[in-house]
């Protein structure tokens, strides 16, 4: 019996819920006065002052600031984030992985992938044209999901502002540069957690 209860507790965990004291608005004039006196001479106002001062102290001399100075430093983005596509290469040969099967072109629901293939001198299929029109792409991720070779994946470039829509769209632009082949990362898959997931876990503020 006891065992079971313990088991139960382990499964559920112990929750320390605190009910917020949502008291009614004061009704009589005296209640209002009492509330003001309580709020003025009670701790509330001074707790607020203390908290801000403490934060100022720890910002200046302790933990530092929360601000990410954005263009200079960037937050790591989650692998499941669907940004501008990357075309990956084979690690051994450095050749691009795409075999020109055309599945991504077929599945693309906004019809923005355009590709053309031909046979090269070794009678292997070669991708001669490959563009994604990012003016139309909705970043749904179907192309990455359908690709049998894990060739097209979503990369981490999310700063999409450019002077022309055509930017980013060529195969060569999306292809991992050959000299950065060693840094090529495999796509973790759609359920993957972000690299800084542990830091992001916070206690839910149930009671203030």
């Amino acid at each position: 019996m006891n065992e079971i209860r313990k088991e139960d507790e382990r499964v559920k965990g112990t929750q320390e819920y605190v009910l917020l004291d949502l008291s009614h608005s004061p009704e009589t004039g005296f209640d209002q006065f009492a509330q003001v006196v309580k709020r003025t001479f009670g701790k509330e106002l001074f707790v607020g002052l203390w908290v801000t001062l403490r934060e100022m102290g720890s910002t200046l001399f302790g933990k530092g600031k929360h601000t990410v100075s954005y263009p200079l430093e960037k937050m790591p983005i989650a692998p499941r984030y669907r940004a501008i596509h990357d075309m990956l290469r084979l690690l051994e040969s450095g050749n691009y992985r795409c075999i020109g099967c055309g599945l991504c072109e077929k599945i693309c629901i906004s019809n923005c992938i355009a590709m053309d293939t031909k046979y090269d001198e070794n009678q292997r299929k070669e991708v001669s044209e490959y563009t994604i029109n990012f003016g139309r792409c909705i970043f749904c991720g179907y192309c990455a999901e359908v690709c049998p070779e894990l060739a097209i994946v979503h990369g981490g470039r999310y700063e999409n502002a450019s002077e022309q829509r055509a930017s980013f769209s060529l195969f060569e632009d999306m292809l991992k540069p050959i000299d950065m082949l060693t840094q090529q990362k495999e796509f973790d898959g759609f359920g993957a957690v972000s690299p800084n997931a542990d830091e992001n876990i916070k206690k839910t503020p149930l009671a203030y």
Binding site: T52, L53, M56, T67
Partner: protein
Amino acid sequence: MDPLLIGTVLKSIIVLSIVSALAGFGTYIERKVLAFMQRRLGPTHVGPFGLLQIAADGIKLFTKEDIIPSNANKLIFSVAPAIAAATAFIAISAVPLFHTFEFTVPVINQLVIVPSVIADINIGILFVLGMMAAGLYAPLLAGMAQANKWGIIGSSRTAVQFLSYEVVTGLSVMAPIMLVGSLSLIDFNNAQADGVGSWIVWQQPVAFVLFLIAGFAETNRTPFDLLEHEAEVVSGYATEYSGLRWGMFFIGEYANMITISFLLAIIFCGGYSDIGFVAGWLAMLLKVAFFFFLMLWIRAAWPHVRPDQLMWLCWKVLMPIAVINIVITGLVVMLG
């Protein structure tokens, strides 16, 4: 030439330039302090620690297009910002800032006496409060002249806030006046010359708190910043303003903050008399800096009140307390 006249002119020029520069610097300090309290950075990019941000803001305000809405009352619309800045500076002219001191200009051998207060009128405290009250005409006129409903709401809030808190300011400062027996700010300073123990704040803590609260209301600072609260009335009286005219409102507001800080320091906290080994001018600067910081600090910590709470607080809480405080002080002065 009259050494006092030279000193006064010199002081007026210096105070005018320093206070208007400080008003700009105040915005920088405010942004930095608020940023640190909220764990942000504040301005960082222009100059070392973002110090030149003031200059950048100044350039921006100067070169911005100065728009006068076509339905607005043009004359009043243009005059209102000038009232804000002018009254703030006139108010400072009657506040004693530091000791009177004299020096001789080396080359022409001219004695110069720099007075502690530019316009030495023996009812300084009333004059300063009256001038700051007149300063509230700026938001009032601005809001009414601009033919914008947010402006009208802003200016009606000005009228409400002003008419209520003027009462509290006057009544709260009455008790210290009765203790000192003079309306001259210099007398106030001299009455507290014997160190920290003689500060009026120890005898009149209630009046101090009341004056502090009313001072926040008069300078339109956070718990009472109803006049231009973005979340409620867009920008209140300043909705239609841009460029330099808008900047003048802010110079006025920061100059008023500095004046209130000086007043708090002089009336309640010993003024510019020396504390032990700390020189008077340094003590004064420290006190003023503390009160200025307090205003920023409270802005970071506390939410602001609703208009009906503002009125309720003024008429049902602060005013009765002020009156009771005066009666008690009067009894003590009479019997003691």
